[in-house]
Protein backbone atom coordinates (compact mmCIF):
# COMPACT_ATOMS: atom_id res chain seq x y z
CA UNK A 1 0.00 0.00 0.00
CA UNK A 2 2.73 2.44 1.03
CA UNK A 3 5.46 0.69 -0.83
CA UNK A 4 7.24 2.80 -3.38
CA UNK A 5 9.90 1.49 -5.67
CA UNK A 6 10.60 -2.23 -5.69
CA UNK A 7 8.05 -4.44 -3.96
CA UNK A 8 8.53 -5.81 -0.49
CA UNK A 9 9.33 -9.32 -1.67
CA UNK A 10 11.95 -8.03 -4.05
CA UNK A 11 13.62 -6.04 -1.32
CA UNK A 12 13.73 -9.06 0.92
CA UNK A 13 15.17 -11.12 -1.90
CA UNK A 14 17.87 -8.52 -2.50
CA UNK A 15 18.76 -8.39 1.21
CA UNK A 16 18.81 -12.18 1.48
CA UNK A 17 21.09 -12.54 -1.52
CA UNK A 18 23.33 -9.80 -0.20
CA UNK A 19 23.61 -11.34 3.26
CA UNK A 20 24.19 -14.82 1.81
CA UNK A 21 26.97 -13.43 -0.39
CA UNK A 22 28.48 -11.64 2.62
CA UNK A 23 28.35 -14.74 4.79
CA UNK A 24 29.81 -16.93 2.08
CA UNK A 25 32.71 -14.62 1.38
CA UNK A 26 33.30 -13.95 5.07
CA UNK A 27 33.41 -17.68 5.72
CA UNK A 28 35.52 -18.60 2.73
CA UNK A 29 37.87 -15.80 1.85
CA UNK A 30 40.63 -14.20 3.87
CA UNK A 31 40.44 -10.79 2.22
CA UNK A 32 37.00 -10.15 3.76
CA UNK A 33 38.85 -9.53 7.02
CA UNK A 34 39.96 -6.21 5.60
CA UNK A 35 36.39 -5.29 4.71
CA UNK A 36 35.32 -6.24 8.19
CA UNK A 37 38.09 -4.31 9.86
CA UNK A 38 37.19 -1.29 7.74
CA UNK A 39 33.50 -1.55 8.64
CA UNK A 40 34.24 -2.15 12.30
CA UNK A 41 35.63 1.37 12.57
CA UNK A 42 32.04 2.54 12.07
CA UNK A 43 30.83 0.76 15.22
CA UNK A 44 33.92 1.56 17.29
CA UNK A 45 32.20 4.56 18.96
CA UNK A 46 29.45 2.17 20.08
CA UNK A 47 32.00 -0.19 21.54
CA UNK A 48 33.59 2.69 23.44
CA UNK A 49 30.18 3.83 24.65
CA UNK A 50 29.40 0.37 26.01
CA UNK A 51 32.56 0.49 28.08
CA UNK A 52 31.87 4.03 29.30
CA UNK A 53 29.92 3.18 32.51
CA UNK A 54 32.72 0.86 33.52
CA UNK A 55 35.40 3.48 32.99
CA UNK A 56 33.32 6.16 34.70
CA UNK A 57 32.86 3.84 37.65
CA UNK A 58 36.56 3.11 38.03
CA UNK A 59 37.37 6.79 37.56
CA UNK A 60 34.79 7.69 40.22
CA UNK A 61 36.04 4.99 42.52
CA UNK A 62 39.60 6.25 42.17
CA UNK A 63 38.59 9.86 42.66
CA UNK A 64 36.35 9.44 45.65
CA UNK A 65 37.98 6.53 47.38
CA UNK A 66 39.08 6.91 50.93
CA UNK A 67 42.57 8.22 51.52
CA UNK A 68 43.21 5.44 54.01
CA UNK A 69 42.15 2.84 51.51
CA UNK A 70 44.57 4.28 49.00
CA UNK A 71 47.37 4.30 51.53
CA UNK A 72 46.62 0.71 52.41
CA UNK A 73 46.60 -0.28 48.78
CA UNK A 74 49.82 1.58 48.25
CA UNK A 75 51.50 -0.25 51.12
CA UNK A 76 50.24 -3.56 49.76
CA UNK A 77 51.53 -2.81 46.29
CA UNK A 78 54.91 -1.77 47.66
CA UNK A 79 55.14 -5.02 49.54
CA UNK A 80 54.19 -6.90 46.41
CA UNK A 81 56.78 -5.02 44.39
CA UNK A 82 59.41 -5.90 46.95
CA UNK A 83 58.45 -9.55 46.88
CA UNK A 84 58.51 -9.64 43.11
CA UNK A 85 61.82 -7.87 42.86
CA UNK A 86 63.38 -10.26 45.35
CA UNK A 87 62.09 -13.10 43.21
CA UNK A 88 63.50 -11.33 40.23
CA UNK A 89 66.96 -11.22 41.79
CA UNK A 90 67.07 -14.96 41.93
CA UNK A 91 65.67 -15.00 38.41
CA UNK A 92 68.63 -13.05 37.11
CA UNK A 93 71.00 -15.63 38.53
CA UNK A 94 68.96 -18.50 37.14
CA UNK A 95 68.77 -16.89 33.75
CA UNK A 96 72.50 -16.37 33.67
CA UNK A 97 72.98 -19.98 34.61
CA UNK A 98 70.48 -21.06 32.01
CA UNK A 99 72.34 -19.08 29.38
CA UNK A 100 75.65 -20.63 30.36
CA UNK A 101 74.17 -24.09 30.15
CA UNK A 102 72.66 -23.28 26.79
CA UNK A 103 76.03 -22.08 25.60
CA UNK A 104 77.55 -25.33 26.78
CA UNK A 105 74.96 -27.17 24.72
CA UNK A 106 75.52 -24.85 21.79
CA UNK A 107 71.82 -24.11 21.75
CA UNK A 108 70.31 -21.07 20.10
CA UNK A 109 69.82 -18.06 22.29
CA UNK A 110 66.13 -17.58 22.97
CA UNK A 111 64.44 -14.47 21.68
CA UNK A 112 63.16 -11.81 23.97
CA UNK A 113 59.41 -11.27 23.74
CA UNK A 114 58.17 -7.75 23.40
CA UNK A 115 54.65 -6.87 24.45
CA UNK A 116 51.96 -4.30 24.02
CA UNK A 117 49.67 -3.46 26.91
CA UNK A 118 45.99 -3.56 25.99
CA UNK A 119 42.79 -2.96 27.88
CA UNK A 120 39.67 -5.08 27.51
CA UNK A 121 36.89 -2.72 26.46
CA UNK A 122 34.16 -5.16 25.57
CA UNK A 123 32.92 -8.69 25.93
CA UNK A 124 30.92 -10.52 23.34
CA UNK A 125 27.23 -10.44 24.15
CA UNK A 126 26.84 -13.94 22.80
CA UNK A 127 26.65 -16.90 25.15
CA UNK A 128 28.10 -19.30 22.58
CA UNK A 129 31.47 -17.71 21.98
CA UNK A 130 34.20 -16.44 24.26
CA UNK A 131 35.74 -13.34 22.78
CA UNK A 132 36.82 -10.01 24.17
CA UNK A 133 37.45 -6.71 22.53
CA UNK A 134 40.77 -4.98 23.20
CA UNK A 135 41.55 -1.30 22.67
CA UNK A 136 44.56 -1.96 20.45
CA UNK A 137 44.32 -2.32 16.72
CA UNK A 138 46.30 -2.34 13.51
CA UNK A 139 47.52 1.16 14.32
CA UNK A 140 49.34 -0.24 17.36
CA UNK A 141 50.89 -3.19 15.55
CA UNK A 142 48.35 -5.85 16.40
CA UNK A 143 48.00 -8.65 13.85
CA UNK A 144 45.86 -11.73 13.42
CA UNK A 145 47.09 -14.78 15.26
CA UNK A 146 48.95 -12.71 17.84
CA UNK A 147 49.21 -14.39 21.23
CA UNK A 148 47.60 -12.59 24.17
CA UNK A 149 48.45 -13.22 27.81
CA UNK A 150 47.43 -11.71 31.11
CA UNK A 151 49.39 -11.57 34.36
CA UNK A 152 48.80 -15.24 35.09
CA UNK A 153 48.74 -17.10 31.82
CA UNK A 154 47.68 -17.38 28.22
CA UNK A 155 44.42 -15.63 27.36
CA UNK A 156 44.06 -16.54 23.70
CA UNK A 157 44.83 -15.10 20.32
CA UNK A 158 43.77 -12.22 18.14
CA UNK A 159 41.22 -13.24 15.51
CA UNK A 160 40.28 -9.98 13.89
CA UNK A 161 41.92 -6.59 13.81
CA UNK A 162 40.46 -3.23 12.96
CA UNK A 163 42.20 0.11 13.00
CA UNK A 164 41.65 0.92 16.66
CA UNK A 165 40.43 -2.29 18.23
CA UNK A 166 40.96 -6.00 17.94
CA UNK A 167 39.02 -9.09 18.89
CA UNK A 168 40.64 -11.79 20.99
CA UNK A 169 39.43 -15.37 20.92
CA UNK A 170 39.80 -16.77 24.43
CA UNK A 171 41.46 -20.11 25.05
CA UNK A 172 38.17 -21.48 26.42
CA UNK A 173 36.28 -20.99 23.15
CA UNK A 174 35.41 -24.17 21.29
CA UNK A 175 37.15 -22.82 18.20
CA UNK A 176 40.45 -22.38 20.04
CA UNK A 177 43.28 -24.88 20.42
CA UNK A 178 46.79 -24.41 21.71
CA UNK A 179 49.75 -26.81 21.62
CA UNK A 180 51.04 -27.24 25.16
CA UNK A 181 53.42 -29.43 27.07
CA UNK A 182 53.41 -30.68 30.62
CA UNK A 183 56.00 -28.65 32.46
CA UNK A 184 57.00 -31.60 34.64
CA UNK A 185 58.00 -34.02 31.91
CA UNK A 186 57.66 -32.28 28.56
CA UNK A 187 54.79 -34.48 27.34
CA UNK A 188 53.09 -32.73 24.44
CA UNK A 189 49.33 -32.35 24.18
CA UNK A 190 46.82 -30.03 22.60
CA UNK A 191 44.49 -28.02 24.82
CA UNK A 192 41.15 -27.30 23.19
CA UNK A 193 38.56 -24.89 24.52
CA UNK A 194 35.53 -26.61 26.00
CA UNK A 195 33.09 -23.72 25.68
CA UNK A 196 33.04 -23.38 29.47
CA UNK A 197 35.03 -20.37 30.58
CA UNK A 198 36.93 -22.30 33.25
CA UNK A 199 37.74 -25.48 31.41
CA UNK A 200 40.02 -26.72 28.65
CA UNK A 201 39.97 -30.23 27.25
CA UNK A 202 43.16 -32.11 26.46
CA UNK A 203 42.58 -34.17 23.38
CA UNK A 204 44.01 -37.58 22.54
CA UNK A 205 45.93 -38.20 25.72
CA UNK A 206 46.95 -41.88 25.74
CA UNK A 207 45.54 -43.75 28.69
CA UNK A 208 49.05 -44.63 29.83
CA UNK A 209 50.47 -41.12 29.58
CA UNK A 210 52.15 -39.67 32.63
CA UNK A 211 49.73 -36.93 33.51
CA UNK A 212 48.46 -36.03 36.94
CA UNK A 213 46.10 -33.58 38.53
CA UNK A 214 47.87 -30.33 39.27
CA UNK A 215 50.31 -30.60 36.36
CA UNK A 216 51.20 -27.25 34.87
CA UNK A 217 50.68 -26.91 31.13
CA UNK A 218 52.82 -24.36 29.29
CA UNK A 219 52.82 -23.38 25.64
CA UNK A 220 55.18 -25.58 23.68
CA UNK A 221 55.94 -23.07 20.95
CA UNK A 222 55.30 -25.72 18.33
CA UNK A 223 53.28 -24.61 15.32
CA UNK A 224 54.88 -21.22 15.77
CA UNK A 225 51.80 -19.31 16.78
CA UNK A 226 52.34 -19.00 20.52
CA UNK A 227 55.77 -18.22 21.93
CA UNK A 228 56.91 -21.04 24.17
CA UNK A 229 56.96 -21.17 27.93
CA UNK A 230 53.81 -19.27 28.84
CA UNK A 231 51.65 -21.00 31.44
CA UNK A 232 48.27 -22.00 30.04
CA UNK A 233 46.40 -24.21 32.45
CA UNK A 234 46.57 -26.60 35.34
CA UNK A 235 45.28 -30.14 34.95
CA UNK A 236 42.15 -30.42 37.08
CA UNK A 237 40.80 -33.89 36.40
CA UNK A 238 42.19 -37.03 34.81
CA UNK A 239 39.70 -39.80 34.18
CA UNK A 240 40.74 -43.18 32.88
CA UNK A 241 37.87 -44.98 31.25
CA UNK A 242 38.37 -48.69 30.75
CA UNK A 243 37.94 -49.72 27.14
CA UNK A 244 38.77 -46.33 25.70
CA UNK A 245 42.15 -45.58 24.13
CA UNK A 246 42.31 -42.04 25.46
CA UNK A 247 41.98 -40.64 28.94
CA UNK A 248 39.53 -37.79 29.54
CA UNK A 249 41.60 -34.92 30.84
CA UNK A 250 40.40 -31.44 31.60
CA UNK A 251 42.38 -28.44 32.76
CA UNK A 252 41.63 -25.11 34.38
CA UNK A 253 42.98 -22.06 32.54
CA UNK A 254 45.38 -20.03 34.67
CA UNK A 255 44.59 -16.72 33.01
CA UNK A 256 41.56 -14.95 34.43
CA UNK A 257 39.65 -15.26 31.19
CA UNK A 258 36.47 -13.67 32.46
CA UNK A 259 38.04 -11.11 34.77
CA UNK A 260 41.26 -9.73 33.37
CA UNK A 261 41.03 -6.08 32.44
CA UNK A 262 44.58 -5.60 31.21
CA UNK A 263 46.20 -7.93 28.73
CA UNK A 264 49.63 -8.20 27.15
CA UNK A 265 49.76 -8.71 23.41
CA UNK A 266 53.02 -10.44 22.59
CA UNK A 267 55.45 -9.40 19.89
CA UNK A 268 53.53 -6.59 18.23
CA UNK A 269 54.57 -5.50 14.76
CA UNK A 270 56.68 -2.39 14.51
CA UNK A 271 54.47 0.53 13.70
CA UNK A 272 55.78 3.33 11.53
CA UNK A 273 54.12 6.07 13.51
CA UNK A 274 56.13 6.26 16.73
CA UNK A 275 54.77 9.55 17.99
CA UNK A 276 51.96 8.13 20.11
CA UNK A 277 53.33 4.71 20.70
CA UNK A 278 51.47 2.97 23.52
CA UNK A 279 53.12 1.49 26.55
CA UNK A 280 55.50 -1.17 25.41
CA UNK A 281 58.18 -3.06 27.14
CA UNK A 282 59.88 -6.35 27.11
CA UNK A 283 59.05 -9.39 29.11
CA UNK A 284 59.57 -13.03 28.87
CA UNK A 285 58.42 -15.82 31.09
CA UNK A 286 61.69 -17.64 31.38
CA UNK A 287 64.38 -15.60 29.73
CA UNK A 288 65.12 -12.00 30.37
CA UNK A 289 68.63 -11.12 29.46
CA UNK A 290 70.75 -9.49 32.07
CA UNK A 291 71.00 -5.81 31.52
Amino acid sequence: MFVKGPSLGLRLLACLILSLALMFSDYRYQHMDQVRSFLTVAVTPLQWAVDLPNRLWSWGAATFSDRNALLEENALLKEQALQLSSKNQRMAYLIAENLRLRELLNAKKPNKDRFLLGEVIGLDADAFTHQVLVNRGRRDGVYEGQAVVDALGLMGQVVSVSTYTSRVLLAADTAHAVPVLINRNGFRVIAIGSGLIDELTLSHVPDTADIREGDLLVTSGLAGRFPKGYPVAEVSTVRHEPGKPFATVSARPLAQLERSRYVLMLNPLDVIDNTNLPVTGSASPETREQE
Binding site: F2, L8, R11, C15, S19, A125, F128, T174
Partner: protein
Protein backbone atom coordinates in the same frame (compact mmCIF):
# COMPACT_ATOMS: atom_id res chain seq x y z
CA UNK B 1 14.47 10.17 11.83
CA UNK B 2 17.02 11.20 14.44
CA UNK B 3 14.96 9.75 17.28
CA UNK B 4 14.44 6.48 15.42
CA UNK B 5 18.17 6.22 14.87
CA UNK B 6 18.76 6.99 18.52
CA UNK B 7 16.46 4.16 19.66
CA UNK B 8 18.35 1.76 17.41
CA UNK B 9 21.70 2.92 18.77
CA UNK B 10 20.43 2.58 22.32
CA UNK B 11 19.18 -0.95 21.61
CA UNK B 12 22.55 -1.87 20.11
CA UNK B 13 24.28 -0.54 23.22
CA UNK B 14 22.00 -2.59 25.46
CA UNK B 15 22.66 -5.68 23.36
CA UNK B 16 26.42 -5.19 23.50
CA UNK B 17 26.45 -4.55 27.27
CA UNK B 18 28.70 -7.01 29.07
CA UNK B 19 26.63 -9.21 31.37
CA UNK B 20 27.17 -12.34 33.46
CA UNK B 21 26.71 -15.53 31.46
CA UNK B 22 23.39 -16.46 33.06
CA UNK B 23 21.91 -13.12 32.06
CA UNK B 24 23.20 -13.54 28.52
CA UNK B 25 20.98 -16.57 28.12
CA UNK B 26 17.83 -14.66 29.03
CA UNK B 27 18.73 -11.20 27.76
CA UNK B 28 15.80 -9.82 25.74
CA UNK B 29 16.50 -9.23 22.06
CA UNK B 30 16.37 -5.44 22.35
CA UNK B 31 17.41 -4.72 18.79
CA UNK B 32 14.85 -7.07 17.27
CA UNK B 33 12.15 -5.61 19.52
CA UNK B 34 12.92 -2.05 18.46
CA UNK B 35 12.96 -3.10 14.81
CA UNK B 36 9.60 -4.87 15.12
CA UNK B 37 8.10 -1.84 16.86
CA UNK B 38 9.15 0.60 14.16
CA UNK B 39 8.05 -1.81 11.44
CA UNK B 40 4.58 -1.92 12.95
CA UNK B 41 4.41 1.80 13.72
CA UNK B 42 6.04 3.24 10.59
CA UNK B 43 5.94 0.58 7.89
CA UNK B 44 6.52 3.19 5.20
CA UNK B 45 9.81 4.28 6.71
CA UNK B 46 11.38 1.32 8.45
CA UNK B 47 11.57 -1.90 6.50
CA UNK B 48 13.71 -4.66 5.15
CA UNK B 49 16.68 -2.48 4.26
CA UNK B 50 16.75 -0.88 7.71
CA UNK B 51 16.66 -4.39 9.17
CA UNK B 52 19.53 -5.43 6.97
CA UNK B 53 21.81 -2.58 8.01
CA UNK B 54 20.84 -2.98 11.64
CA UNK B 55 21.76 -6.65 11.43
CA UNK B 56 25.07 -5.73 9.84
CA UNK B 57 25.85 -3.44 12.79
CA UNK B 58 25.02 -6.31 15.16
CA UNK B 59 27.37 -8.60 13.24
CA UNK B 60 30.17 -6.09 13.52
CA UNK B 61 29.54 -5.58 17.24
CA UNK B 62 29.15 -9.29 17.98
CA UNK B 63 31.97 -10.51 15.80
CA UNK B 64 29.59 -13.04 14.25
CA UNK B 65 29.72 -13.97 10.59
CA UNK B 66 29.13 -10.88 8.46
CA UNK B 67 25.53 -11.14 7.26
CA UNK B 68 24.34 -13.59 9.90
CA UNK B 69 22.27 -11.14 11.91
CA UNK B 70 21.60 -9.12 8.77
CA UNK B 71 19.78 -12.05 7.24
CA UNK B 72 17.70 -12.76 10.36
CA UNK B 73 16.83 -9.07 10.77
CA UNK B 74 15.73 -8.59 7.17
CA UNK B 75 13.48 -11.64 7.39
CA UNK B 76 11.96 -10.32 10.62
CA UNK B 77 11.38 -6.90 9.09
CA UNK B 78 9.72 -8.56 6.11
CA UNK B 79 7.35 -10.64 8.24
CA UNK B 80 6.59 -7.66 10.47
CA UNK B 81 5.72 -5.57 7.40
CA UNK B 82 3.42 -8.32 6.16
CA UNK B 83 1.66 -8.46 9.51
CA UNK B 84 1.66 -4.85 10.65
CA UNK B 85 -2.03 -4.17 10.01
CA UNK B 86 -3.04 -7.22 11.98
CA UNK B 87 -0.51 -6.52 14.73
CA UNK B 88 -1.90 -3.03 15.25
CA UNK B 89 -5.34 -4.45 15.94
CA UNK B 90 -4.18 -7.16 18.30
CA UNK B 91 -4.56 -6.84 22.04
CA UNK B 92 -1.45 -6.63 24.18
CA UNK B 93 -1.38 -10.36 24.91
CA UNK B 94 -1.83 -11.44 21.31
CA UNK B 95 0.75 -8.92 20.15
CA UNK B 96 3.27 -10.15 22.70
CA UNK B 97 2.77 -13.74 21.55
CA UNK B 98 3.30 -12.70 17.95
CA UNK B 99 6.49 -10.82 18.87
CA UNK B 100 7.70 -13.88 20.76
CA UNK B 101 7.11 -15.93 17.64
CA UNK B 102 8.94 -13.45 15.41
CA UNK B 103 11.93 -13.32 17.74
CA UNK B 104 12.01 -17.11 17.91
CA UNK B 105 12.20 -17.17 14.12
CA UNK B 106 15.13 -14.75 14.13
CA UNK B 107 16.90 -16.79 16.82
CA UNK B 108 16.30 -19.96 14.84
CA UNK B 109 17.76 -18.44 11.68
CA UNK B 110 20.77 -17.26 13.67
CA UNK B 111 21.31 -20.68 15.26
CA UNK B 112 20.84 -22.41 11.95
CA UNK B 113 23.63 -20.40 10.34
CA UNK B 114 25.75 -20.80 13.47
CA UNK B 115 25.31 -24.54 13.17
CA UNK B 116 26.44 -24.54 9.56
CA UNK B 117 29.54 -22.47 10.16
CA UNK B 118 30.73 -23.13 13.70
CA UNK B 119 29.37 -24.44 16.96
CA UNK B 120 25.78 -23.87 18.01
CA UNK B 121 23.80 -24.47 21.18
CA UNK B 122 22.91 -28.06 21.92
CA UNK B 123 19.79 -27.18 23.89
CA UNK B 124 16.64 -25.28 23.08
CA UNK B 125 17.63 -22.78 25.76
CA UNK B 126 18.76 -20.40 23.02
CA UNK B 127 15.05 -19.59 22.62
CA UNK B 128 14.86 -18.16 26.16
CA UNK B 129 15.42 -14.56 24.96
CA UNK B 130 12.24 -14.89 22.90
CA UNK B 131 10.29 -15.63 26.08
CA UNK B 132 11.77 -12.73 28.05
CA UNK B 133 11.19 -10.38 25.11
CA UNK B 134 7.61 -11.61 24.90
CA UNK B 135 7.03 -10.98 28.61
CA UNK B 136 8.50 -7.48 28.36
CA UNK B 137 6.76 -6.55 25.12
CA UNK B 138 3.56 -4.87 26.50
CA UNK B 139 5.59 -2.42 28.62
CA UNK B 140 8.16 -2.00 25.90
CA UNK B 141 5.39 -1.18 23.43
CA UNK B 142 3.87 1.45 25.72
CA UNK B 143 7.28 2.99 26.29
CA UNK B 144 8.08 3.18 22.60
CA UNK B 145 4.63 4.58 21.82
CA UNK B 146 5.21 7.31 24.38
CA UNK B 147 8.50 8.16 22.69
CA UNK B 148 6.85 8.18 19.28
CA UNK B 149 4.04 10.47 20.41
CA UNK B 150 6.30 12.74 22.42
CA UNK B 151 8.53 13.40 19.42
CA UNK B 152 5.64 13.20 16.95
CA UNK B 153 7.27 10.77 14.59
CA UNK B 154 5.06 9.86 11.68
Amino acid sequence: MFVILLTFVFALLLAAMPLPDTFLWIQPEWVTMVLIYWCIALPHRIGVLAGFFLGLCMDLLDGSLLGQNAMAMSVIAYVALLLYQRMRNYGALQQALMVGLLISISLLIFQWIQNLTSVAADTLAFLLPAITSMLLWPWFFIGMRTIRRRFQIH
